[in-house]
């Protein structure tokens, strides 16, 4: 599973920000042709995104994803036919409410891949669930069999509108949806990617919210400001303490197995089966981060 601690939104019509994107330390760049771009600018942004992808492809290790417009708009097909030949790593599909939305995108994408002789299913899909219906259909969407799904994103801002709720700093109004998406994504072995923290200036609030996000199971989040990247990366990365503990767990487990013990303890606590893959996951993530891949 790909590590996506941070997915940084970059407006698709802002070449200056796009040029600097590779050094902003996000694991994924989300080039946006949806909310950040006015209808009159979408065609120009499309071409800019395509040219940008062609110019940076293979030069940087980071993932390059493109947010297209949702399937109810007149823009999404042009987004895909124009940009897919430049082979982004993924298309981010907003306002997905049912599996059919994803199948529509998948079919067009497959057609474009064939026309351009591109390998099939290499471009992944990251749906954003950001309406009440999308949240209720989370598991159905996560279990679509396009072969392209690589994560599920949570979209808090539109969801609040859809719910008729009030957006707060604490975010209790989106708590149910956040948990539901984590559960659906994990059930289908997909990356759950949390919503943005909307206040750029509130670094303290962003860190606290990211810690909560990590606590409930998210492995990364979207961010709207480069200033949030470093902080979020840190929260979603295993700490030195986490790594040390994971190593101890695996050593204790191996030692127990060697001695034929059914159960072992570490620092007075039992080491049981679910702790083993968790420890392995921590070390695997740490290895990917420190191995220069991220």
């Amino acid at each position: 599973m790909r590590i996506r601690r941070t997915l940084l939104w970059i407006p698709g019509n802002n070449p200056a920000m796009m040029a600097n994107a590779p050094i902003l330390r996000a694991d994924t760049i989300g080039l946006d042709n949806e909310d950040a771009v006015q209808p009159g600018d979408k065609d120009a942004a499309r071409i800019l995104i395509r040219n940008y992808l062609e110019s940076v492809r293979g030069k940087h290790p980071l993932e390059l994803a493109v947010r297209i417009n949702d399937v109810t708009t007149p823009y999404w097909k042009d987004d895909i036919t124009c940009i897919a030949p430049a082979q982004p790593d993924a298309f981010i599909v907003p306002k997905v409410e049912r599996p059919e939305d994803l199948y529509l995108v998948h079919e067009l994408l497959t057609q474009v891949e064939k026309e351009h002789g591109l390998p099939e299913n290499e471009i992944k899909l990251l749906p954003i669930l950001e309406t009440a219906l999308g949240i209720e259909n989370a598991f159905l969407i996560a279990s679509t069999t396009t072969g392209r799904l690589d994560g599920i994103m949570m979209g808090g801002e539109d969801l609040v509108t859809s719910l008729g709720a009030l957006r707060t700093r604490e975010g209790r109004e989106i708590d149910y949806a956040r948990c539901r998406i984590v559960s659906a994504a994990r059930a289908c072995n997909l990356n759950p990617i949390d919503t943005v923290f909307p206040d750029v200036e509130d670094i303290e609030g962003m860190i606290a919210d990211t810690k909560y996000s990590r606590q409930i199971g998210y492995s990364g989040r979207a961010v709207i400001s480069p200033r949030h990247v470093t902080y979020a990366n840190e929260v979603y990365s295993p700490s030195e303490k986490d790594i040390l503990y994971a190593q101890e767990v695996l050593e204790a487990y191996e030692e127990g197995r060697r001695l034929g013990k059914g159960a072992v303890s570490l620092h007075g606590k039992m080491i049981d089966a679910p702790m083993i893959p968790r420890a392995q996951q921590v070390l695997e993530i740490a290895k990917m981060i420190r191995g220069g891949k991220l």
């Binding site: 040029a19 050094i23 200033r227």
Partner: protein, 476 residues
């Protein structure tokens, strides 16, 4: 008490000094864009019908130009300037050949040397002083328009034929706290206002939120951390740009973490430097110029914050010069640059469009004097590369520059291999300057070559009075 030195007006003081055509007048620039004194004096000189004046000032800013200096150049009252820095209006006029005589750009230390060794003779020095008494004792830290250190009038007031103190806060004799004393002052003029002290922060960056500047600052602070110089007794100077101020903030965190206690901060002082003093990270600040009101207040109130003269700051020591100066005891200086080239030469004077826009300030002095000089700069500014094959103009020679920090990596001057090894061992992203230049060019393309004419309009002067570079008129 004997008769006072008070004149009724600036015109009276000018007449009393015997100023006439072809002479040189000197000013400090401590109020920067908020300065009223330079325009007031020069307008008065113009009204008296005096022409062909050379303005020898530590700096000339756009605010001063807009208060009359532009017209005085057109009228032939001002025919040349010698400064350590200027902003775009005067720079543009020089570049277009609108001043009839060749202008010169000095370093801060070089300016002091020029005064002390009388390479250039000052006929009248005008001192903008926030507080003074009737005999000319004055300081920069008291009064409604206090700007802090008055360091850039200290040498010139001593060596000029005549010195006039201009103040808006005349206090009873004797002024208790004195930076320039009556022994060098001939006349005193009281005016309504010497300037707006809010203008002293002109061009000084607020704490930056720019993510690229923060990346540069992070690399810069780590470069200092692993340079081998960050230990007890450490001394430090940083400029007033966004990356420099952010570097200072990051450095303070490293000093706290590593429990390093510094000796002195030098400069050009900002409120950020004052924070480090107040946090107990350094023993003292040596201050030739305050860049904001917080620094000015600190100089007034904190005895650990010490005022120094321009000569003490940066005038090179040696058999014919000063005994010593503070920049030569500096461990690390963090500087900016308009351009830096493959030989690490830095350009501070001429922008990539070929227009004069800045000045050396203390750049060349501190780069040469410090143990490690660091240039912090973005790889490109809009569509112009900062890292170039060859600078449009050279201000600080590459031999005095140790390391360049950009958001895309750190490049160490090959003369300093030990530093390169230290930084690589620490896991920092060290790349060659050729790689950075190629990367910059790949992003911006190759800019059109700037076309200059054959008329010499300015000379860039080094610390010792040598001509480092010549600037010709721009063809537009």
């Amino acid at each position: 008490m004997k008769e006072t030195k008070l004149c009724h007006s600036i015109e009276d003081a000018i007449r009393a000094c015997g100023l006439r055509d072809g002479m040189t007048v000197d000013f400090n620039h401590h109020l920067r864009d908020g300065d009223y004194v330079i325009p007031m004096v020069m307008n008065a000189i113009g009204k008296l019908g005096i022409k062909d004046i050379k303005v020898f000032s530590a700096g000339i800013f756009n605010g001063m130009m807009n208060r009359g200096l532009t017209d005085l150049i057109h009228q032939g009252v001002i025919t040349s300037t010698e400064v350590t820095g200027n902003s775009s209006i005067l720079g543009g006029m020089i570049s277009r050949g609108e001043l009839p005589k060749v202008c010169r750009f000095h370093t801060h230390g070089g300016r002091a040397r020029t005064i002390v060794e009388e390479d250039l003779h000052i006929d009248v020095c005008f001192v903008a002083a926030p507080t003074a008494d009737c005999m000319g004792n004055c300081n920069g830290v008291e009064g409604p328009n206090a700007f802090g250190s008055i360091g850039y009038s200290m040498s010139s007031s001593r060596y000029a034929d005549k010195t006039v103190v201009i103040t808006d806060n005349l206090v009873p004799y004797p002024l208790q706290r004195t930076s320039i004393d009556e022994s060098v002052v001939d006349y005193v003029v009281q005016v309504d206002a010497i300037g707006d002290p809010n203008g002293i922060a002109t061009g000084i960056a607020k704490p930056t939120k720019d993510p690229l500047a923060l990346i540069i600052a992070e690399y810069a602070s780590k470069t200092i951390e692993f340079s081998g110089l960050l230990k007890d007794g450490f001394s430090y100077q940083a400029g007033a740009g966004g990356p420099s101020i952010a570097t200072t903030r990051y450095l303070s965190e490293i000093m706290k973490r590593k429990k390093v206690h510094g000796s002195f901060i030098l400069g050009g002082v900002t409120g950020t430097s004052v924070d480090l003093l107040e946090e107990g990270l350094f023993d003292t600040i040596m201050d030739v110029q305050c860049f904001d009101r917080k620094a000015a207040a600190s100089l007034r109130d904190d005895p650990r914050h010490r005022e120094i003269s321009d000569a003490c700051y940066a005038m090179r020591g040696g058999p014919n010069g000063n005994r010593s100066c503070a920049v030569d005891s500096l461990d690390v200086v963090v500087l900016g640059a308009l351009e830096i080239d493959l030989d690490f030469n830095c350009n501070l004077v001429v922008n990539s469009s070929g227009l004069i826009t800045g000045g050396a300030g203390g750049h060349t002095d501190t780069a040469e004097g410090s143990k490690m000089s660091m240039i912090v700069a973005p790889l490109r500014r809009t569509r112009y590369p900062t890292v170039v094959k060859k600078c449009t103009s050279i201000t600080t020679p590459g031999k005095d520059v140790d390391v360049l920090i950009t958001e895309y990596g750190i490049s160490v001057n090959p003369k300093n291999q030990e530093l390169a090894l230290r930084l690589k061992d620490a896991g920092l992203k060290v790349v060659s300057i050729e790689e950075l230049q190629a990367l910059a060019e790949s992003m911006t393309g190759i800019p059109d070559e700037v076309r200059f004419g054959d008329r010499l309009v300015a000379e860039v002067i080094g610390r010792n009075g040598e001509v480092i570079d010549r600037v010709y008129n721009i063809l537009e």
